[in-house]
């Protein structure tokens, strides 16, 4: 995509000058330039949310220098970005300790924590939990899939990701994009006896068998939904992508 000149801004990362696109996500820009910044709740395909607080950087804007998450910080003319300062690292370590306590079952959190030398947490653990309430699943469901079938319930301590009323929601097409995108693998998908089950959303959908290889490949509900969406005959999805 061609970027118009007036949208370009210059800014600095660790003392080096870069050209970025005005108001794009700073984290996106950092990654494009090859800087490694950890994050669990960010995905370039959906809007940034700033939940996991791992992509912290320090940004100097004018006279003010402050700690901020980079995913929802807009690239602006003249800002200076500092990556692994002492403050960033010490804060990030404690964020990891908080995440270890919230989601002791999340392997990705444990692995990331280890990279920072954090192997244990001084905080009370929520045993058995792997969800870090980052909301990426819901953002993908809404912004990419267009189903908007799941969302947060409650707030504060009681905030949790659910399907409404913690029941089956007909808006869920069983596409499993949420499962794929979940940074801590906490949603879970089962395909057994021709049924796809996403237990967390209480969704069980029979799958269609491929006309050619006869193997189940996707929920019929989802395929019909896609067919309606793009305006083709339902039979268009009779064969699986491999045999098509």
């Amino acid at each position: 995509m061609a970027v118009q000149d007036e949208q370009k801004v210059s800014f600095q990362i660790e003392g080096r000058s870069y050209q970025g696109i005005r108001e794009e996500s700073l984290l996106g820009a950092l990654r494009r330039y090859g800087y490694e910044v950890p994050s669990l709740c960010y995905h370039e395909a959906v809007s940034p949310y700033g939940a996991c607080r791992l992509c912290l950087v320090e940004v100097q804007k004018g006279k003010r220098r402050k700690l901020t998450t980079s995913c929802n910080y807009p690239v602006l003319e003249g800002i200076e970005v500092f990556l692994d300062t002492e403050k960033v690292v010490s804060t990030r370590k404690m964020v990891l300790q908080l995440l270890l306590a919230q989601a002791p079952e999340a392997r990705s959190v444990r692995e990331l924590a280890e990279e920072y030398g954090v192997t244990d947490t001084p905080f009370k653990k929520d045993e058995g939990n792997a969800c870090i309430s980052c909301g990426l699943c819901a953002r993908v469901c809404k912004e990419i899939v267009g189903a908007d079938a799941i969302g947060f319930a409650g707030r504060g301590l009681g905030k949790r990701m659910v399907s409404p009323y913690d029941e089956t929601n007909q808006a869920c097409i069983g596409c499993a994009a949420c499962v794929v995108v979940c940074p801590t693998d906490c949603i879970g998908l089962k395909e057994e006896n021709g049924i796809r089950s996403i237990e967390r959303w209480h969704r069980d959908l029979p799958m269609k068998n491929c006309k050619v290889c006869e193997r189940p490949f996707a929920p019929t509900f989802q395929l019909n939904h896609f067919a309606d969406q793009i305006g083709v005959e339902k039979s268009h999805f009779d064969t699986c992508p491999n045999c098509r």
Binding site: A147, D148, A149, G151, A153, G154, R155, P164, Y165, A171
Partner: protein, 152 residues
């Protein structure tokens, strides 16, 4: 909720998604809580997802998704009421009425709720029973105030 009533509420707010909060407030005012069918109906009528309506209804603490009791007893838990002993009132009511975590007694007689401040801090601890304010409450005074309800 009677569907005609719901239509009236929706029309009053021009079926605007921005008025979602106000629409739910009007429903709760009528029904004393937010019945599931109405929540589903609102989503449909405003052409927004059920997930969005459900998130909003659970985010704001003034909404109840469960039927509430015949009597509603609200204890103010503002700072002034707290330092003057409001937590003891809550403990006491819980014990006396055997109120479960959900806040409503099994026989749907009483719902116990807390609120973060009703702006009558000078008179705390404050208790609102069925919209009537009772000031400077103590557990002993509570028994007198709640007596008629207990016999209800």
């Amino acid at each position: 909720m009677d569907s005609q009533k719901l239509e009236t509420i929706l029309d009053k707010h021009d079926r605007q998604p921005a008025a979602l909060l106000a629409i739910l407030q009007d429903i709760q005012e009528e029904e004393n809580y937010l019945p599931k069918e109405d929540v589903q109906q609102v989503a449909k009528a405003l052409s927004i997802s059920l997930a969005r309506v459900y998130s909003l209804a659970t985010f704001f603490s003034s909404f109840s998704l469960e039927p509430r009791g015949k009597h509603i007893c609200t204890v103010c838990m503002g700072t002034a009421c707290h330092v003057r002993g409001a937590p003891k009132l809550v403990d006491h009511i819980r014990r006396e009425f055997d109120v479960p975590e959900t806040g409503t007694t099994k026989d749907l007689n009483l719902t116990l709720e807390t609120v973060n401040c009703v702006g009558a801090c000078a008179l705390g601890p404050l208790l609102i029973l069925d919209q009537e304010y009772h000031s400077n409450m103590t557990p002993a005074k509570l028994d007198r105030v709640l007596k008629p309800i207990k016999q209800d």
